[in-house]
């Protein structure tokens, strides 16, 4: 699961923000903001993708860099969200 989520998130970032398959560049833990990959408007694009692709609702409180500022952070957030979803 983790691998799949991670690769789907990476594919989305690559397609829509890097515009290329990133063979060596961006590490899973690199900050998307600090590396100039995402700007403040891009975050909304990301949120829209996550909501439709993973069938979740993100609250404002969840739209924070801790959840969204790297590929690994996004995957971990989705994992947690998913776990909560199942538990509920």
């Amino acid at each position: 699961m983790n691998e799949t989520v991670l690769s789907r998130v990476r594919a989305f970032i690559e397609e829509n923000f890097l515009f290329r398959e990133d063979v060596s560049g961006l590490a899973d833990t690199d900050s998307l903001l600090e590396n100039g990959i995402m700007d403040s408007t891009g975050i909304l694009e990301l949120v829209a993708f996550l909501e439709s692709e993973f069938d979740i609702q993100m609250s404002d409180a969840e739209i924070v860099p801790e959840n969204l500022d790297s590929i690994a952070a996004i995957a971990a957030y989705l994992e947690r969200k998913h776990a909560v979803g199942i538990a509920a």
Binding site: E15, F19, L33, S40, G42, I63
Partner: protein
């Protein structure tokens, strides 16, 4: 207002000198359709294409002194020519004409090159002094009028627009990768560099002197601010507001000097409203005003424009700008701007100057410059807030203030405080960086460099545009108040490098229209620089002192209205059912690969994303506009690009 061109030194005489000058003029004719002239002698040649505004009958150029030892070719206006003329006459100087051109010659005869410091105006001129065999080039303090030059063989050629330089036999346009990197970081190339390799611009407030093969370029004026600990003013606010008002009235008054009627732009904001209001009071006649409207409410200010036109009782006209209009005229905009641009905002202004021209006007007053000089831009508030957040990094509430900065950006309103903090304050550690105020903007703009090709990146060899800008700042910059520092970056760099050029002179002169800017009178600029920062940016209220000064001149609602920045639709202009044909042609994988500046696959993906209407972010819009404009620029100016493209077209047909 006009176009000038010429050379000094010994030009390569493959073409007769007069044909050379006429060739340069032909490229500038749009700037001055009312007449033209050339003159030449041993060591120099001048050309001039004229838009007649002052002393229409006798003001032809190039013009000489009585014994024809001093010649001038001059583009622009000297607004204080009346006072200077009177002063010279009192000293016994005789005049043949009533033109401002002759005032420069007579003043030069009296004072030499230092005469430039006496001029209050927007100008670019060349003076040949046959007695000294000396060439002088000079440009106005704020960079309103352009002047480019290039050395080629044993001569130096100069012109109002670079396109005139490339009519010189043997001179060809070539892209300077460093300048492209700067444009994809700042929106402008760092003067004196230009996007044309080897071509320099004479920086604002500078003069060039050439004699016996020695060329010196030096500033004759500098934008200066007081040290941060000396910004206070013992006078009360009302007294300062009164001084601002009186000086603005005078700056507007001398900018109404013209032998042809003067109109005004109305953007819907405070600055142009104030200028139009002052002009109306001074001229005592019904003012003609012009504005641009957008069909997208996100950009449109029609209601405010109409409200102001009604309040002032002006005779108002507007032109509607749709995204498809921008797409259609964009190649033409590039031919005039002569440099890649990362926003489409110049395009509607070309439509506006066309409206002015079609209505029979040659001169307009505008509110340009007020945001730089009186602290109106959002970036000043943003920087102040970022410093405020930096003082208490733990505060969760402080970052929420960023939402108040950008009420007109719906996408930003939806962001959480944590993200606003992360986005706006990522550079918190850099409060001592001289570029602190502009780092978020530069960073998000530079995101567009993601599309640079590997070859281009290799050629740039890790070049850092920010370091280049840092090292060009004045020595005392770091002692200035943070607002002064941010104002300097806007006024000394973005204003001449983008606002007054790509959005200003080039778009107005595309239709032979001259803009005049009361806020950029150097007396206003000097006075405003000394006003305490707290009176410019008062809390988070921008241009506070100007609002006070404007109080009874514009309707109260207008005086209180927050600034709405001037913007135009970007990617929407190049996509959808009415997308111009050149977009697919220039962004195709084959064309991008052939031009070699950008990376093929990412550009294709970006084009797809834009076509699907998903390119909504700052970076994507800047990149799409920047890539398209760079390719259009190449097609317009670089001969090889045209050849390569015709080759592709030929293959397609075959």
């Amino acid at each position: 207002m006009c176009g000038i061109a010429g050379y000094f030194g010994s030009p390569d005489m493959r073409a007769p000198a007069d044909a050379l000058l006429r060739g340069m003029l032909a490229a500038l004719r749009h700037r001055g359709p009312d007449g033209e002239g050339t003159c030449r002698g041993d060591g120099y040649g001048f050309a001039h294409t004229r838009l007649s505004i002052i002393d229409v009958a006798a003001g032809a150029q190039p013009m000489a002194n009585d014994d024809e030892t001093v010649w001038i070719t001059f583009n622009g206006e000297i607004f204080n020519y009346v006072e200077l003329r009177r002063e010279l006459i009192a000293k016994g100087v005789r005049f043949r004409t009533h033109s401002d051109t002759e005032v420069i010659i007579r003043l030069y005869e009296t004072m030499g090159p230092d005469c430039v410091a006496r001029l209050n105006g927007d100008f670019a001129f060349a003076i040949w002094d046959a007695r000294l065999r000396q060439m002088m080039l000079a440009r106005d303090r704020m960079g309103v009028r352009p002047l480019f030059y290039v050395r080629h063989g044993a001569a130096t050629y100069f012109a109002s627009e670079a396109k005139a330089l490339f009519t010189v036999p043997g001179l060809q346009a070539e892209l300077d990768p460093i300048a492209l990197d700067q444009i994809f970081t700042f929106w402008f190339p760092l003067a004196p560099g230009t996007i044309f390799k080897g071509v320099a611009e004479l920086p604002p407030a500078h003069m060039l002197l050439a004699r016996d093969g020695n060329v010196t370029v030096r500033p004759y004026w500098r934008l200066e601010f007081p040290d941060a600990d000396e910004v206070e003013d013992s006078r009360d606010e009302a007294a300062i507001a009164e001084e601002v008002r009186a000086l603005l009235f005078d700056a507007t008054r001398i900018r109404l000097r013209s032998d042809v009627p003067v109109g005004a732009y109305l953007s819907g904001g405070l600055d142009s409203s104030l200028v139009a209001a002052m002009a109306g009071r001074i001229a005592h006649e019904r003012l003609r005003t012009f504005s641009v409207r957008f069909d997208d409410p996100e950009f449109d200010e029609t209601a405010f424009q109409q409200e102001m036109a009604d309040a002032l009782g002006t005779d108002h006209s507007a032109v509607l700008c749709r995204p498809s209009d921008i797409g259609t005229i964009f190649p033409d905009v590039l031919r005039h701007a002569e440099r890649p641009i990362l926003r489409t905002a110049p395009a509607p202004l070309e439509m506006l100057s066309k409206l002015v021209h079609d209505e029979g006007f040659k001169v307009v007053l505008t509110g340009e410059g007020a945001d730089e000089v009186f602290g109106g831009y959002d970036i000043f508030k943003e920087a102040k807030l970022r410093r405020f957040c930096a003082r208490d990094q733990q505060s969760a509430r402080r970052p929420l203030l960023f939402k108040r900065l950008y009420p007109y950006l719906p996408k930003l309103q939806a962001q959480s405080g944590a993200y606003l903090k992360a986005f706006f304050a990522t550079d918190l550690g850099a409060v001592d960086d001289p570029l602190f105020s502009h780092l978020p903007r530069f960073r998000s703009t530079a995101g567009a460099k993601l599309f640079f090709s590997a070859d281009l990146k290799r050629e740039l060899q890790g070049y850092d545009a920010l370091d280049d800008l840092r090292s060009s700042l004045p020595a005392d910059f770091t002692r200035w108040h943070p607002l002064s520092q941010a104002q300097y970056l806007e006024t000394a760099h973005l204003l001449p490098g983008y606002i007054l050029s790509s959005q200003g002179d080039r778009m107005a002169m595309a239709n032979a229209v001259e803009g005049r800017f009361p806020f950029l009178d150097h007396r206003v600029v000097e006075m405003a620089a000394k006003i305490p920062p707290r009176l410019k940016l008062h809390g988070l209220t921008e241009k506070h002192i100007l609002r006070e000064a404007a109080r009874d001149l514009v309707p109260p609602a207008m005086a209180k209205r927050p600034k709405q920045p001037y913007r135009a639709p970007d990617s929407a202009s190049f996509t959808g059912a009415q997308a111009p044909a050149y977009v697919a042609r220039l962004l195709s994988g084959a064309a991008i690969a052939a031009s070699g500046l950008f990376d093929k696959v990412p550009v294709e993906k970006l084009a797809e994303k834009a076509s699907a209407g998903r390119a909504r972010g700052f970076r994507d819009n800047a990149a799409l506009t920047g890539i398209l404009s760079t390719e259009l620029w190449r097609e317009a100016f670089v001969p090889a690009a045209v050849t390569m493209d015709s080759e592709l077209a030929r293959q397609k047909v075959a």
